[in-house]
Symmetry: C2
Subunit: 766 residues, 2 copies
């Protein structure tokens, strides 16, 4: 009951029963999209507990001065109210047979079918199809087929555009202008309250009876925030009524809308509506499915032999990795829930650089570059944040939205279970490692792709500018060790607030400054023009001695005699409690219902990987025995209460040779959204965890790692798998990797350039 994996060999995720109390899961994990539009898969007929959602990448708006900016939930165009002989079609009433909802991740089509018997006994077969076109970014197409099985019926349809949608009650849009054309095409223009982005929503219906188009005028209804069309059709038993609905969204924030007014977009949308209607649903589906094939499945094929479910899991990750990424526009980035829900408000976190970027870098470098251009374009916000905090350089916001928004982390969230008062969210103030994460992303992108154009235009500057921040951030400790410290931060592990010398933060800051020094020399020597430009802009000559001094004197936590790298200056001295209950929990965050954050801070417990992410990013600076001992120490104390955690632990487990544990953690990571638990994805899918699934497969079992500028492939397959194939792009050359238990085949598919890699410790030239 619930999720059904019986059709995964056909790339199909199914839901085989309908529970009106648990709608959020499939709305999110079966959502459709194309990086511009993200559409939750709420049903055509409406339900009390649904969360309908349509998001357009980058269209941030701030509801009021007490809220942070967020991606607004746009007007809904997918609802279609059907009544059969006056009885409303709804699966909570009457009876149903043969219910199934299927997401075909290969074609991007959602299908839902049911035989429904109304409370009064009318039996009807209903099939619903839907796509968000990957070929036409603005287009949603739907097709509904209704076949009365026993008797002639009168079907009433009410369908249109509903601007009453909110983000959990916060309304981002004006009740704009509604109008219709020829009593057929209906249009609604709304504007966001603060960011003043115009949304032009347009929809048109095409009805046919047994394939014969019905030339009908709609009865048009206009209400507050709503415009819809009404149709009445008599359908004989056995006949099939099809309703196709073509909807488009254009906004004045669109990259290609520059200089255009809402009126221009209205005209364009009207023309498009007529074009879509002429094409029809089937043609739109086919061209979109072809686009999926070309753009995703042919581009980055992955095959796993030995476990269909694992193969499906990584394809499912790839499906969502395409939905979430605004590949069309560098002015926006990936939200922590993609475009599949309002969780985390569409904001971008370190998730992009650490958990998502590797997938795009290795499979779709053009898109990866867009993600990294975004960080450059959002430097104004990073400068503002640094200045506001009396630091220098670029201090990246923990949560990032529109380019000049700067820090957008909410200041308060939830309530302290002891005091009954709101909890302050410290991440936006002191979770500062994001700045070196951004720099790390730049470096990773440039080394793997070899994209020197990016580095010259954006990358060197980003690394210098972030290093300038770190140099200004260091502080003399209260101890008399004469070292620099980074006090009062939150590291990756968000269960520990206000810690000093978080290992991840300190080592990454050190890395960031060192990388800047390295590039300083490189530019001065090899690219003097760029050096001169950046020196004028950032005063590198003044910055360099500060980096040098910072690197020399920054305190870097050292492993204990038991080889444990201390997560921060207090972790190892906190008390240990029995975490069994929370390690075995079904829902994350159980500990926060028993202890408030102040109390959790006194316990040796981690929400998520912290020190281990450091081992993952900078694996060559710690000896294996430190990594091993620390891995064992922290894994026991980590609750994986963040979806970012499992994949890191899985990849590290591969590195430790703990293959059973690695596989177990991978399966858990893959189950975060794909698994059978019906409550965990309501607010949207877990974007980073999809990147993590790919990392488990290609970094972990596939053994791929970029290390000190070199590519190494040290695969080790889980017991169940007999073969793993994947492609990666290294320095512009697409390599096909085939791993079996015995062999590793690597082929250079591009072959325009020789590349040197290391496979299981041996150098190969391809």
């Amino acid at each position: 009951m619930g999720m059904d994996y019986s059709a995964i060999k056909d790339w199909i995720l199914r839901e085989d029963s309908f529970d009106p109390e648990k709608l959020g899961k499939c709305e999110a994990v079966m959502s459709l999209g194309n990086g511009y539009l993200g559409l939750r898969s709420a049903a055509e007929e409406r339900y009390l507990n649904e969360t309908r959602g349509l998001f357009v990448a980058g269209t941030f708006n701030k509801f009021d001065e007490n809220e942070v900016t967020e991606l607004p939930n746009a007007a809904d165009m997918t609802a279609i109210k059907l009544s059969v002989n006056g009885e409303i079609f709804s699966l909570t009433e009457g009876a149903m047979e043969d219910y199934a909802r299927e997401l075909n991740i290969r074609t991007g089509e959602l299908k839902r079918s049911v035989i429904w018997t109304s409370p009064k006994g009318t039996k009807i077969k209903a099939v619903f199809y839907r796509i968000v076109s990957l070929k036409r970014l603005h287009v949603i197409a739907q097709r509904v087929e209704l076949t009365p099985l026993d008797a002639d019926v009168k079907i009433e349809i009410k369908s249109g555009i509903n601007g009453k949608m909110t983000n959990t009650g916060s309304q981002h849009f004006s009740d704009g202008d509604k109008r219709f054309y020829d009593k057929r095409v209906i249009q609604f223009v709304q504007t966001t309250g603060q960011s003043k982005i115009d949304f032009v929503d347009t929809t048109v219906h095409k009805l046919a009876l047994d394939g014969e188009v019905l030339p009908m005028e709609a009865e048009v209804y206009i209400e507050r925030r709503e415009i819809f069309a009404g149709y009445n059709v008599e359908v004989k038993a056995g006949q099939t009524l099809s309703i196709e609905k073509y909807s488009t969204v254009y906004t004045t924030r669109d990259l290609d809308a520059e200089g255009k007014t809402a009126a221009d977009l209205q005209k364009l949308a009207l023309e498009t509506a007529r074009e879509l209607e002429a094409l029809g649903y089937q043609a739109l589906l086919e061209e979109s499915a072809r686009q999926w094939e070309e753009e995703v499945w042919n581009l980055a094929p992955i095959e796993i032999e030995g476990c269909e479910m694992d193969e499906f899991a990584v394809h499912f990750a790839q499906y969502h990795l395409r939905l979430m990424v605004p590949a069309h526009d560098a002015r926006m980035n990936i939200g922590a829930k993609g475009l599949s829900g309002e969780g985390y408000r569409g904001h971008t976190f370190w998730d992009t650089e650490i958990f998502l970027l590797p997938y795009y870098i290795f499979t779709d470098p053009k898109t990866a570059r867009k993600l990294e251009e975004y960080r450059y374009l959002s430097l104004p916000g990073a400068h503002a944040k640094a200045a506001h905090n009396h630091y220098k350089g670029a201090m990246f916001p923990w949560e990032s939205a529109w380019l000049d928004d700067g820090e957008v982390t909410p200041e308060y969230m939830d309530v302290d279970i002891l005091t009954g008062k709101p909890n302050k969210v410290w991440s936006g103030f002191i979770e500062q490692h994001i700045t070196s994460d951004v720099a790390f992303g730049v470096w990773q992108y440039s080394v793997i792709t070899g994209d020197e154009d990016y580095m010259e235009k954006y990358g060197y500057e980003l690394i210098m500018d972030t290093a300038i921040f770190w140099a200004s951030r260091l502080e003399k400790g209260t101890s008399d060790d004469n070292k620099y410290h980074i006090n009062d931060v939150v590291g990756p592990d968000e269960y520990r607030e206000h810690v000093n010398d978080n290992a991840f933060t300190n080592y990454m800051a050190h890395w960031n400054m060192q990388k800047a020094m390295e590039y300083y020399h490189l530019l001065k020597k090899e690219k003097p023009e760029i050096f001169a430009r950046l020196n004028e802009k950032l005063n590198l000559e003044e910055a360099y001695p500060q980096w040098e001094n910072g690197c020399a004197n920054l305190y870097l936590p050292v492993p204990t005699k038991e080889n444990i790298l201390p997560q921060d200056d207090r972790y190892l001295s906190c008390r240990d409690i029995d975490l069994g209950k929370y390690k075995a929990q079904e829902h994350v965050g159980g500990i926060t219902r028993d202890y408030n954050l102040e109390q959790i801070n006194q316990i040796q417990v981690s929400k998520q990987a912290d020190v281990l992410v450091l081992f993952f990013l900078l694996e060559d600076i710690f000896p294996q025995e430190v990594k091993k001992a620390s891995w064992e120490y922290y894994e026991k104390r980590t609750l994986h209460d963040s979806s970012l955690s499992l994949s890191t632990h899985s990849v590290l487990a591969c590195d430790m040779g703990e293959m059973e544990m690695a596989y177990d953690l991978f399966r858990k990571a893959a189950a975060i959204d794909l698994g059978p638990f019906m409550g965990s994805s309501n607010a949207g899918i877990h974007a980073a965890s999809f990147g993590g699934v790919w990392e488990c497969v290609v970094y972990g079992f596939g053994g791929v790692r970029m290390l000190g500028g070199r590519l190494r492939i040290n695969p080790s397959l889980p017991e169940k798998w007999t073969k793993l194939s994947y492609t990666i792009i290294w320095k512009g050359q697409k390599l096909a990797v085939e791993v079996t238990k015995d062999e590793v085949h690597v082929t250079n598919l591009t072959g325009t350039k020789k590349v040197e890699i290391e496979v299981n410790g041996e150098a190969r030239i391809l």
Copy 2:
């Protein structure tokens, strides 16, 4: 099925079946309130098509610059989510027996009961009780009784405060501070976006098993815009679990909150919550029911013998007339839908003076005075509107909200069925008769009550100031009749826009100026100090000759040779069409789906009473033959597409001696909200029509009329009625009137002063 009138002799309106598609009707007509709070009677369990609504009188807010200010839909505190052994209690699932919802209009209590069998077969009896206290303006109290009938069950309760409510998608509130005290009392502070009114919502639950209080801590959940408490209780078969929920709303707009902060109100609300909990539901019900008895039923008793339904209808009107009136605060007035829905946005229209004021004047003069003080307090808006339109004096807004808002009629509404573009709403610009309606209300109030204090402080000034407007409004016509005209207006009949010399408008303007002249002389002679003050303020000496000139030369439409008074200068020359279809329509407004407004303007058709309202207000200036002929002419052409129309026609029919027609129209007027049609009250009850029902009974059949400063009583009962008794207050003396077919008894209950009245043409001194 649906509305059930079997218990009306016990003052109870019932609903005997549940239709999840038709919830709006009972939500509105069974709504609860006290003039401060208005609460729609949506169920405790939520439904897809519900319209939950909680309104606090006078708390207007403007969502954005494209909308007009409106009464915001406050956070919901009445929803209670129940599950029985994990199955959600909902009447759309499983099976039900013995469903009934009952509004007791005598006590103001709503009760709903059902025996529900869950889909899995668990049987439970559920009874829900609810009041909005008439004694404590800020208080909502609920009681739920749950009795498992067959088996022991586990009941889960989730209940709290939900700030996701909107006005059809427009969100007026911030997502404010949520907190709880002692894991029991929960509180939510929200602020309106533009008017910056703080709302402090507080709720606390008390659970008991078979009367034994359960001392339980709640599990408190905090979400975006929501805070709620969770409880789990095991209930054995046959035991009754009761859940009492006490909720309060305080706002910084409250009259007694002046100088108080939200924090002060939070403290007050917390104390109140504890006090209410100690009192319990039953005590709160009893004190509120006593208040209903004292304040309404003893104050203004009406009895009709011969038809229980008619008696109930007038009591039902009185019930709603109490709910809708902000008797506690002169800074606000009655909305066109009372506090029972968001229709007409809580705005005040001419409905107050023409259809509602008579009830309050004759039964509760203190409250009537508040309504008329409101008009004085909102003079700043009326001056602003006059100045904006280059007129002088006080030009009252067609739609009125907060005191200084001025005109708040929306500028566009609906869409032209021919062009597909939005329709301009002309009322706010040119429906100008509201200004003389306000003056008429002042005069009516002062003559019937004899409240000279009101006149001296507010009334004389209002009549002078409105007359100054009219004098500035008159224009020389294009014809060379040398008369003044009032061109380009909308009269009461809103199907006719941009008409010239609307009879109602011209006669009432004339009356307004004449009344000002009369008071000019009176004040100059008898109250020279007041004259001096007003002369200084309004320059009466300059105004007087303009009134004199205006009255002498204003064109007043004259009846045709067939004795028809022309509604305007074009009505009688428009074409007649067959209106049969629309006269017989089930839903109002049918003609607007066939013709656009421009076309309707060319047809002899009226939305509502127009000329006939003039006969009603100024009955002594037209001879009977004109009234009779005009009544017959216009009644045929009036679609009663406004709820203001039927009662006027009914009262006029009484005056014409058309008793059968009068009774028929009265029954139709009474059925507007009380009748069995399930679709007509969704956006709220029709406030004016309740005043109209009282007018039908007391003015029409009861024969009461104030005419030229004198009270006359000329009753004529419908055939069915054997006796009608009512009370009216005339010049401070409460008179009990008993009408039978043969006699009219009038008793002076107060008896502190002799009053002279006229009964069936004969003078009586009481």
